[in-house]
């Protein structure tokens, strides 16, 4: 919306109504440089917007005033608490490093409750990481590698240390003397992640 920008704020022109003593027609005479957005039904609450609010809020009749529409939406949002989730996705490319001096790190725009990390399976690779599920706040993260050329596929389970869960950044590292595989950080391999938290 735009404000009205008058040259003469508040100035009006009064024109006497013929035959009606003491009665005047009034019109703005503020000579605006910008007319501004009018305040009316079309700008505050159209029928379409009222119907959308009615549907979104699960009401039986549309709001007739903007204040009623806002109240309906606020109630609907309040009911969503704990039922809706916020989600963030992304990816990283493995660097082939591991150990406490070279932790992996992911930063989110919110503090997740659950983070799922999965390696994009590479048909040419012999060993890959299977998806990891990390619950925010846990001191370790279980990482599993699978060697597909073994029959049945040989699996390695490894508890990875989580270095930091403060704020919105997750850092994790495998102990020195292990492998980048155990840190879900295989060189040049793509990993995707999804982070979830209640609204």
């Amino acid at each position: 919306m735009q404000d009205r920008v008058p040259t003469y704020p508040g100035r009006v022109r009064l024109t006497p109504v013929t035959g009606q003593e003491g009665v005047y027609d009034m019109e703005r005479a503020d000579e605006p440089t910008q007319a501004g957005t009018p305040i009316n039904k079309a700008t505050l609450l159209t029928d379409a917007a009222a119907a959308a609010v009615e549907a979104a809020a699960g009401e039986n009749s549309p709001p007739s005033l903007p204040s009623q529409a806002l109240a309906m939406l606020a109630a609907a949002i309040s009911e969503l608490n704990g039922k809706a989730v916020q989600m963030e996705t992304g990816e990283y490319t493995g660097t082939g490093t591991y150990g406490s001096a070279n932790p992996c790190t992911l930063t989110f725009s919110f503090q997740p409750s659950i983070v799922i990390i999965a390696q994009m399976v590479d048909t040419g690779a012999e060993t890959h990481n299977v998806p990891i599920i990390y619950k925010w706040g846990d001191a370790t993260m279980a990482v599993r590698c699978e060697r597909k050329t073994s029959s049945p596929p040989y699996t390695y389970d490894y508890n990875v240390n989580v270095a930091s869960t403060s704020g919105k950044t997750l850092e994790w590292y495998a102990a020195s003397g292990s492998f980048a595989y155990y840190q879900a950080n295989i060189s040049s391999k793509r990993y995707v992640y999804i982070a979830l938290a209640p609204v």
């Binding site: 660097t95 490093t97 060993t127 590698c145 060697r147 060189s187 040049s188």
Partner: protein, 90 residues
């Protein structure tokens, strides 16, 4: 947006992250969409200015790290010994 840590790891790779969210990462820079990413990524040399990567070039990718080898499974060894007729240890 794609982010990359400005300082390289000891093996020449850079930690990196790509997400739709706008993040503020100290010591990291944003890779502009128009910048070509070398195949060697994340093994690259980069220059950055004011939080944006201004150039990126390929660097040598080190040999892949060795894969973890399966540890010997004592039960597999026992089964094999029984199959081969071993019934005692000298």
């Amino acid at each position: 947006m794609r982010y990359i840590e400005i300082e390289a790891l000891p093996n020449g790779a850079h930690r990196n992250q790509e997400t739709e969210s706008v993040l503020s990462l100290e010591g990291w820079a944003v890779i502009p969409e128009e910048l070509e990413i070398p195949e060697s990524f994340p093994f690259v040399d980069i220059s950055a200015e004011s939080g944006m990567v201004t150039s990126m070039s390929a660097r040598e990718v080190p040999e892949p790290e060795p894969e973890p080898e399966p540890e010997g499974d004592i039960w597999d060894e026992l089964a094999e010994a029984i199959r081969s007729g071993v019934n005692g240890i000298d």
